[in-house]
Structures are given as structure tokens and as C-alpha cells.
């Protein structure tokens, strides 16, 4: 770890101010990615702006339109315990990492990092959720821009994520044996106006929507409706844990299982 300064603001406006001054600063959410990167000397910010003291971006509530609103600084364990209105999302949060990760890592931090194998991006995209930041609102479809890349600008903080609650939904994760991140994770959500299917872990471009499956499931929400439907291996991640073809195959299997589990 290189030496750095740390600020622990308690108000969002102070955090924004710190992130926009002349010092090279990086926001620190739960630190589940950034701290290991610092320890390995893979990152060298001059200053960390720790968001864990900013209470106004924590918590879970239901908006007037029924959307489940989760503060960007809410840790996974709190989502697991408090997102009962959206059981598939609560279950996803309950199965991220281990208890230590779930009690430190935050939804905002995970989304801003956009690890290609993280769970939350699939929930965001499959739910057509909205990311609320200190500057604006960003639709899920506009948020992710490829592996570890999002449309967030420097100094922009995720304050809230608004999830429309679907009629049915489920997230299935097929774990990579070592990291237990998603080798392939699929979030399926059925809304009145159609079904959305988001896939994490598989693609070199990060989380993506599987449009063929969405179309088939929108007319018939059953595992049978997508039997035989498959993705090509092109553009899928290929590594020691599985070939591109294996991941493409798993997307079909895991999607069918998610549909079946959604009921």
C-alpha cells in the first residue's frame, strides 16, 4: 500500500466537494475491491474520500410509484435483510461473497466498479432500474459501458438505485470455483410489459441483456420457451475456469433455471 490521505465526510455535499477539489481523490465505498488493489499497490490515489460515514445515502424505502429505492451506500447485508419487497434482489444480496464482504461492500460501490463477474449489475439491468447520482438520473441501459467502465463521471457519487418491482424474478449464479464470483449469473425479471434477462460473468463486455431470451420469455414465461435457444461463444470470456463455449452454454442452462425458480 502506498501512503494516502483519507477524509471521512458525513455529509454528501462535503464528499462531493472533496472529490472535486484539486487533490487526486478516489471515492471509497465498502472497499471490497479498492482496498485489495491498494494493498497490491495497483492503485495509488493521493486521497481517499470514504463514503461510509454519509448516512443520507444509506437505507431502503419504497417510492410512491412502488419502486424499491436503495441508498448507494447501503451494504449487501442490509439489502439482504431489508429488500423483502423484492425477494430476488434480497436473495442476490444475501449470496454475494461472505459475511465480511456483505457487511462492508455497498450496492453503489459494486455498480460503480462494474466488475464483469459481479452480481448487482445483472439485477440493475434486468430490472430496468435507475441509478440516481449526485448529478443526474441514469437508466440502467445507459449505465454500463463495458468491463469496469460505466457512464459515471469523475466525482459523481451513486446516491440511490431505484428498482421497479417485477411480478416475478430470480437470480441464479453459477460460481467460479475459486473466487465464487459468477462464472455465469443470470437475472430474470418479468414485468407487465415484458421480460428482461441480464447476464453477468460471461461476456468480455461485462453485463448484457439477452434479447432473444427476453422475446421468447415475454410471450411464454417458461423454461421450455427458451429450450434450445443459445448464444454464440464469440465475445465470451475464456480463461482457466471455462472456455467461451462453456460460458455460452451455461448462459442457457442458468437462464432456464432462473425462469423455473421464478415460478
Amino acid at each position: 500500500m502506498y501512503a494516502f490521505d483519507i477524509e471521512r465526510p458525513t455529509r454528501l455535499t462535503d464528499a462531493v466537494k472533496l472529490l472535486s477539489d484539486a487533490t487526486d481523490s478516489q471515492p471509497l465505498g465498502g472497499g471490497q475491491t479498492l482496498i485489495p488493489a491498494l494493498k497490491a499497490r495497483l492503485a495509488a490515489p493521493e486521497r481517499l474520500v470514504c463514503l461510509s460515514g454519509v448516512d443520507e445515502i444509506k437505507g431502503i424505502c419504497t417510492a410512491d410509484d412502488g419502486a424499491l429505492c436503495i441508498g448507494g451506500g447501503t451494504c449487501h447485508a442490509d439489502v439482504a435483510a431489508g429488500a423483502g419487497a423484492y425477494p430476488a434482489l434480497a436473495s442476490l444480496a444475501a449470496n454475494i461473497g461472505d459475511p465480511a464482504v456483505r457487511n462492508r461492500g455497498t450496492i453503489g460501490g459494486s455498480l460503480a466498479n462494474n466488475d464483469p463477474s459481479a452480481c448487482y449489475p445483472a439485477a440493475l439491468l434486468a430490472s430496468g432500474a435507475t441509478v440516481v447520482t449526485t448529478n443526474r438520473k441514469i437508466a440502467a441501459d445507459d449505465f454500463f459501458e463495458g468491463m469496469f467502465t460505466t457512464s459515471l463521471e469523475d466525482g459523481e457519487i451513486i446516491t440511490e438505485v431505484r428498482f421497479p418491482v417485477p411480478e416475478k424474478a430470480n437470480y441464479q449464479k453459477f460460481e467460479q470455483p475459486a473466487s465464487r464470483f459468477a462464472l455465469v449469473g443470470v437475472f430474470v425479471a418479468k414485468y407487465a410489459d415484458g421480460v428482461r434477462v441480464a447476464v453477468t460473468g460471461a461476456s468480455e463486455d461485462g453485463v448484457f441483456r439477452w434479447s432473444e431470451a427476453e422475446a421468447a420469455l415475454s410471450s411464454d414465461f417458461s423454461a421450455g420457451a427458451i429450450e434450445g435457444l443459445s448464444l454464440p461463444g464469440d465475445g465470451m470470456i475464456s480463461d482457466m475456469h471455462g472456455s467461451a463455449d462453456y460460458r455460452a452454454h451455461l448462459v442457457g442452462v442458468v437462464t432456464r433455471r432462473a425462469v423455473t425458480a421464478a415460478g
Binding site: 500500500m1 502506498y2 501512503a3 497490491a40 499497490r41 453459477f174 470455483p177 475459486a178 473466487s179 462464472l183 480463461d239 482457466m240 475456469h241 471455462g242 472456455s243 462453456y246 452454454h249 451455461l250 442452462v253
Partner: protein, 787 residues
């Protein structure tokens, strides 16, 4: 029912109080006044010519005390190899130098180039980043067969090739074996890989060097399984420090699994630098660093052939193995694929003719050496896989095929130079069939199939040679060390004892089970007995702990020393009771005169030994302290039969272990709970190898599985509850306790049954899959199912 604290009792482990409450004293807990910290700058390329190492900028960095490079170690010994193998042509192996810090070339990712000593760890690391390196990258050799091709880049320019040795065993049998294959009714052939593993003990390695300028005494605190061996190797061969000026301390050590047997460069460096700088120097390995510096395990590529006659009797066995040595010869590396592997190829079977060929190969990878089982798991895996394949090809029951070929008469001299003293392979197989509930398997398979899963049952037997080893024998085989063990028993005036053992405990529970043996012999409570180990200053010269040797060899030394104590105590007791020594009996801590009601307590005798007012001073010396060295006359041969039941998800290839049963014969047992724990841990590691652990290098010699993000260690939910039984006991005939050793059995015995079970499951689903190389990850199993 054995008395708590005596032999046979499941006495709770006394050491766990400190381990579980965070009050252990590990090497990293040791901090000396004025200590400096070293950070090693390591090669990030697998093979390269080291043109310049420019430390000038780094030397001016804050906190830097001194930067060492290979130049500082010119004229100083390199790390020695403790075993010399002679090849099938009578030539000794090629033995390259192994400098403490790289000289001229770097040969694997992780090879240390420079050592920065600074006031703090972070300062040392900062300065290491400022060292300017000019390395001319050379093509790396990673694949063993490619490394042996003509024109392959040489890991060591001064050797004739990358071949360390070409070993044949038993060379005289080769023609007869080849002949037997020609006349065989059936031959089963299997090519397989025994996957390279990273040991990953919970505690990474640490070394603290210290030097006392006024006395000239060196001290090294280190994470070692054998402090005396380190003292001898480092003192005599690397740094030229005589043993009486060098103390090596291995305090609490958090697991070793073989990887802490070896003498490593960092130990020599810290000892050397402490004197050069006149300050203690400490190194703590990071987990990332451990992946590229701790010796790896296994990494064999083998073709095995089994010949059978028309009645399915095994008639001959032939193997052709490539064994990876890595970039340098680690301390005991040459012995693992040879004498710890070839001698076990008979397994539990009366195959009359066996020939083993092993080519040991240098590559641009981390050195490979002994890892839990060391050679014996590689032998067992090949043999038990090829037998299973043969049974399938012949359409016979794999258990019946094994039983038909079991060795049943003991002692049994194998065609691979060892003699099994005892064993009862049918008994352990009978026990396995019972605890594995094989009768219920068909119903369980149906249940799995109803869920869309394939279920398989795999079994295997194993035999291992433990209690290493008769010194005169291993000396003939190339060992540059003796392999006896030692114990000093010091009785205090008021009756308590301290047993100082040359073996070392790094999680095995010796402090509990060793105390049980001595307490039982004297008939006192175990809490009267203290076990001391791990410090060359207060233990007799001993060879340490590996190869499941501690109770068989170290325990035997302890028994011999305790016998001497008892014999002397009886003389004192005879004097005190004015009786004949021949009439003295010791029971429950009381000395009595046979046929009378006269007795004296243990404590009365020990007090008399140290307050010899009424004492036979003309016949014996006062005091009660004895030392014994024990050199075994043979190895011990634990054996057993294991069974694994798996479910395979045919859509994803994911394997889950549903049941695991182990029936072992360890001879006599001191503490059944500790033995079960050793078996549990061993099976967990075996399942790790079979399903999860893949140490993968790319073609440039970069370690792709260099962290827990990619290297999968077994976790609690990867393993089932085990059915473990060790009631089949054929005691060892040649050591005083009749014990055989249990530390490695689980890791040796479990991988084949896991793989056999997966093959069985896939075959039950109509898939013609005959082999998959470990680890059987979901992607590999799925790929195999695609045909």
C-alpha cells in the same frame, strides 16, 4: 475404556487452547529490538539474462539500510540439495547451483534478484520499486516434454540439457516386464496428469535472523518443520556457520504440508544479513509471494500400462513418468518421483513384475518438492485409476478385481524393493463396504437420477511407506542425511517430565499424543508431561516432521528414552525399598516389590534422584534424564480402502461429493480423535486436488492461478461429513508402539476414488468418458461430456 490422557484415549488437544484463543507464538509474532525489514525484489519474467541490477537510486530512498544483490553472495554456498539420484545408466543426476539471490540469470517468476533492508516494510518495498533492472528476456520452457526436445532453451546454461535424471526402477526387471506385456491377455493403458499444487498452509513463511556480535552467536527464527535440518543445511552448506554458533527456532508453525521442510533462500538471507548489518532482519511472506516462492507439489505426467492374464491376475505394470523439478532442485525434490514413488507402485497387489521410468525435468517454474504424501499419492493415483479402467474394460467388478489381486501374506517383498511387514487389505475393504453402505447405493443413484443428476461410486485402495526411514537404506538410495529421530526425557525432582523431541509439531497435536505415550508408560497423568520441540538449543538433533514419521520414529525414540528412565528409576526404587531390582514393578505411578505390600510412589523416586541422601551413589549417578536416538529398521506401511460418492450435474458438469468413507489400517493408535482429524484434513486436501486446485502456468511461465481468486482451495461446503474408521489394526512389527502413521493417508487415498466416482457417474449416464485430468472442474467435466 482407556484412561483420559493415556494411550487410546481421545484426549482433547492441549495446544488448541493457545491456537484457538489467539495466544500462540508464531514466527511473525517474534519482534526483536532494533529489527529491520527485508523486501525481496523478484523476477516478473520466467527466464531472462540479468544484465544489470542498478540499486543506486534505491539506495538513497528513505529508511534504506542496505541493498543486497547476487554479487553479495558470490563465493558463498548456494542452497543445497539433500538427495542425489543415480540414473538408469549409473550416472548421477544433473545438479545445478541455486544461489541465494539470482546470479547471471533469473529462472522463474519469483526468483529473488535483490533484497532491500530498510527500517520499515513499506520503505523496503518503496525502494525495491526504484531498483533499475535490465533483464534480457529469454524464451521460457514450461512444458516438460518440450523442455526435453533438441534445441529447447536451457534453464541452466551449464547443464547439458533440461533433463535432471532418467531413472529406471527396477532396471534389471525391464526386459522381463516388456516380455510379460507381450504375452498378456489384456493390457490397459492410461495417460494422466497429476496436477501441480500449491501447498497454501494457513501461515505464510516468515524468517527472522539475529546475530550477537559479542558472542558470535547466530539465531534464525523460521517457519520450519525441521529446525535441526535447516541448521545443518544452512550452517554447513550455505553460510559456513558451525552448529554450536547457530540456533534455529521454529516456534508455533501454522501448517506445513511439506512446504516448510525445505531450506529456502530467505532463511539464509536473513541469517546472513543480520550479521552483515549487526541488526535483526525480518521477512514476512505475503500470500501472493507464497504462490511464487513456496515449493509446489506433484506435477507428474504419466503413462501407465497394466498387463493382466486371462484370469484377470495382474502380471506386469509399466510406467513412464515426467516429473517437474521446476527451475532449481529444492531440498528433497529428486527423491519424490523416485524413491518415494517407484517403491510404492506395487500398491496393495501382488503384481510380480514392475518397471518404473521417471524423467525429472527442469522448467522455468517454481521448484517442486514434497507435498503431503510426496510421491505416494502420485503412485496411488496412477495405479488405482488404471485398475478401475481395467475393470471397466473387462466388465468386472472393480472391488472384485482388486480383491483377487490383493497381497494376503506378510511379510511381503514387492518387486520394487520394499517389504511390507503387516496389513490386511480384505479387512479394510470389508469395513469400507460396511461404512460406505454400498448396498444402498443403487437406491441413492435412483434418487439422484430423479433430480436429473448422475451418481457415481468410486473406490480405491492405497498403501504408503511412512516412518521414513532406515538411515542405512536411504543412504544407499542417495539421501545425504540420516533419518533417525531423537528424544530426551528430563524428569524433574517432583515427578513432572519434560520430553524434548527432535520432531516438530505444526498442527499435528504432538504435544497431546506424545504426552499420552509417556504418561501411559509411567502410569501418571498426562498433564505431568510437557512436550518441547522446535528449538535446536533445547532439543536433541532430530530430523523433523514429514512423511508421517513422527509417532513411528519420534515416538519410538521417546519410548526408548522413557524405558531408560524407568529402568534407572527401578534401581532407585529397589534401593529405597531394600529389595532386588528384578522384583520391582511399576504400575499406575507406583513402584512395588512383587509379592509384598511394599511400594514407593513415582514422586518419591524422582525426589531421591535429585536429593540423593539415601541413594545408591556407588552404583548409579544421581539425576533422572535420558536421551535415545531411534533409527527404524524398515518403513511402516499404513493402508486402507476409500470410497467416494458423487453427483454430477450433467448440464453444467459440476461435481458434488455426497458421501466419503475411509477405512484405514494405521496399526496401533494413540489418540483416535487426532487420527480422525488427520484423516479428515487429508481427505479435504485430496478432494481439493481432485476437484478444485489447479496451478496453471501460461506458455511464458506466468503463473495464472497466483491468488485465491483463481486458485481454488477446498472450503467447508466442498466436502461432506466423512465416515472414517480405523478399527482394522495390524500393528507394525518393528517399532515399539506398533504404530504406522496417519498424517498423509487422507491426501494419498482420496483423489483416485473421487475421479473413479465421476467416471462411474458419467458412464451411468451413457457417456463414454474413460478419464478426465484433475482438477475435475465443472468446465473440464462438461467438456469431457461433449465427447
Amino acid at each position: 475404556m482407556p484412561k483420559d490422557g493415556g494411550i487410546g484415549a481421545s484426549t482433547k488437544r492441549r495446544e488448541d487452547v493457545r491456537f484457538l484463543t489467539g495466544t500462540g507464538n508464531y514466527t511473525d509474532d517474534i519482534n526483536l529490538r532494533g529489527q529491520a525489514y527485508v523486501h525481496f525484489l523478484r523476477s516478473d519474467v520466467a527466464h531472462g539474462r540479468l544484465n544489470t541490477v542498478d540499486t543506486s537510486a534505491a539506495e538513497g530512498m528513505p529508511g534504506v539500510i542496505r541493498i543486497f544483490t547476487g554479487k553479495d553472495f558470490e563465493g558463498i554456498g548456494g542452497l543445497p540439495c539433500g538427495w542425489q539420484v543415480t540414473d538408469r545408466h549409473g550416472e548421477v543426476m544433473q545438479e545445478p547451483g541455486h544461489p541465494v539471490l539470482a546470479q547471471g540469470k533469473v529462472r522463474h517468476v519469483g526468483d529473488p534478484i535483490a533484497a532491500v533492508v530498510a527500517e520499515t516494510r513499506e520503505q523496503a518495498r518503496d525502494a525495491a520499486e526504484a531498483i533499475e533492472l535490465d533483464i534480457e528476456e529469454l524464451p521460457a520452457v514450461v512444458d516438460m516434454k518440450a523442455a526435453l526436445e533438441d534445441g529447447a532453451p536451457k534453464v541452466h546454461d551449464d547443464l547439458t540439457s533440461n533433463l535432471c535424471y532418467d531413472w529406471g526402477f527396477v532396471e534389471e526387471n525391464k526386459a522381463a516386464v516388456d516380455e510379460a506385456f507381450k504375452s498378456a491377455a489384456h493390457v490397459t493403458t492410461l495417460e494422466l496428469v497429476n496436477n501441480r499444487l500449491v501447498a497454501n498452509p494457513m501461515e505464510p513463511r516468515v524468517a527472522v535472523g539475529d546475530y550477537n556480535r559479542s558472542t558470535g552467536d547466530h539465531t534464525l527464527y523460521t517457519t520450519s518443520q525441521n529446525p535441526h535440518v535447516i541448521r545443518l543445511l544452512m550452517g554447513a552448506f550455505v553460510l559456513g556457520i558451525p552448529e554450536h554458533k547457530l540456533r534455529v527456532v521454529a516456534p508455533d508453525v501454522g501448517g506445513g504440508f511439506g512446504s516448510k521442510i525445505f531450506h529456502y533462500a530467505e532463511e539464509a538471507f536473513c541469517t546472513f544479513a543480520a550479521k552483515a548489518l549487526n541488526r535483526p532482519v525480518k521477512w514476512t511472506c505475503s500470500r501472493s509471494e507464497a504462490f511464487i516462492t513456496d515449493a509446489h507439489g506433484r506435477d507428474h505426467v504419466t503413462k501407465i500400462e497394466l498387463a493382466l492374464d486371462a484370469e484377470n491376475n495382474f502380471t506386469a505394470l509399466r510406467t513412464d513418468t515426467y516429473a517437474n523439478m521446476g527451475a532449481y532442485l529444492s531440498t528433497f525434490a529428486p527423491s519424490v518421483p523416485t524413491w518415494l514413488h517407484g517403491t510404492l507402485m506395487a500398491g496393495n497387489y501382488k503384481t510380480p513384475l514392475i518397471y518404473v521410468n521417471v524423467k525429472a525435468v527442469f522448467t522455468n517454474t517454481v521448484p517442486v518438492d514434497a507435498y503431503r504424501g510426496a510421491g505416494r499419492p502420485e503412485a496411488t493415483y496412477q495405479l488405482e485409476r488404471v485398475i478401475d479402467k481395467a475393470a471397466r474394460e473387462l466388465g468386472v467388478d472393480p472391488i472384485a478385481l482388486r480383491r483377487q489381486n490383493f497381497i494376503t501374506e506378510f511379510p511381503y517383498a514387492t518387486p520394487v524393493a520394499v517389504e511390507y511387514d503387516t496389513g490386511d487389505y480384505h479387512a479394510t475393504m470389508d469395513k469400507l463396504e460396511e461404512i460406505g453402505d454400498f448396498k444402498g447405493f443403487a437406491a441413492r443413484r435412483k434418487e439422484s437420477e430423479a433430480k436429473g443428476r448422475l451418481r457415481g461410486l468410486g473406490i480405491n485402495c492405497y498403501i504408503e511407506a511412512c516412518g521414513i526411514a532406515p538411515s542405512n537404506l536411504v543412504g544407499q538410495l542417495g539421501a545425504r542425511a540420516g533419518l533417525y529421530e531423537s528424544a530426551t526425557v528430563r524428569v524433574n525432582a517432583t515427578g513432572g517430565l519434560v520430553v524434548m523431541t527432535g520432531s516438530h509439531s505444526h498442527g499435528q497435536g504432538h504435544e497431546t499424543s506424545f504426552a499420552q505415550v509417556v504418561a501411559e508408560m509411567i502410569g501418571i497423568d498426562a498433564d505431568q508431561v510437557e512436550i518441547v520441540h522446535g528449538d535446536t538449543a533445547n532439543t536433541p538433533m532430530g530430523m523433523g516432521t514429514y512423511g508421517s514419521r513422527s509417532i513411528a520414529v519420534g515416538g519410538s525414540a521417546m519410548v526408548r528414552a522413557t524405558e531408560k528412565i524407568i529402568n534407572k528409576a527401578k534401581k532407585i526404587a529397589a534401593h529405597l525399598m531394600e529389595a532386588s531390582e528384578a522384583d520391582i514393578e511399576l504400575k499406575d505411578g507406583q513402584f512395588s516389590v512383587a509379592g509384598t505390600d511394599k511400594s514407593v510412589a513415582w514422586g518419591d523416586v524422582t525426589l531421591a534422584a535429585y536429593v540423593p541422601h539415601n541413594y545408591p551413589l556407588e552404583d548409579i549417578e544421581p539425576g533422572l534424564e535420558e536421551t535415545a536416538f531411534y533409527d527404524p529398521s524398515n518403513f511402516t506401511y499404513p493402508s486402507g480402502a476409500y470410497a467416494c460418492e458423487v453427483e454430477v450435474d450433467p448440464e453444467t458438469g459440476r461435481v458434488t461429493i455426497e458421501r466419503f468413507a475411509a477405512a484405514d489400517d494405521f496399526g496401533n493408535i494413540i489418540n483416535p480423535m487426532i487420527v480422525s482429524g488427520q484423516v479428515h484434513g487429508g481427505i479435504g486436501q485430496g478432494i481439493g486436488q481432485a476437484l478444485l486446485e489447479a496451478c496453471v502456468y501460461d506458455e511464458n511461465g506466468q503463473l495464472q492461478s497466483g491468488s485465491y481468486m483463481d486458485y481454488a482451495m477446498p472450503r467447508a461446503d466442498d466436502v461432506p461429513f466423512y465416515e472414517v474408521d480405523h478399527s482394522c489394526q495390524t500393528p507394525c512389527t518393528h517399532n515399539p508402539l506398533g504404530v504406522k502413521g496417519c498424517g498423509e493417508a487422507g491426501a494419498i487415498g482420496s483423489p483416485p476414488s473421487v475421479v473413479n466416482a465421476v467416471i462411474d457417474a458419467l458412464q451411468s449416464g451413457g457417456k463414454n468418458v474413460t478419464h478426465i485430468d484433475m482438477p475435475l472442474s465443472p468446465s473440464r467435466v462438461w467438456q469431457a461430456m461433449q465427447g
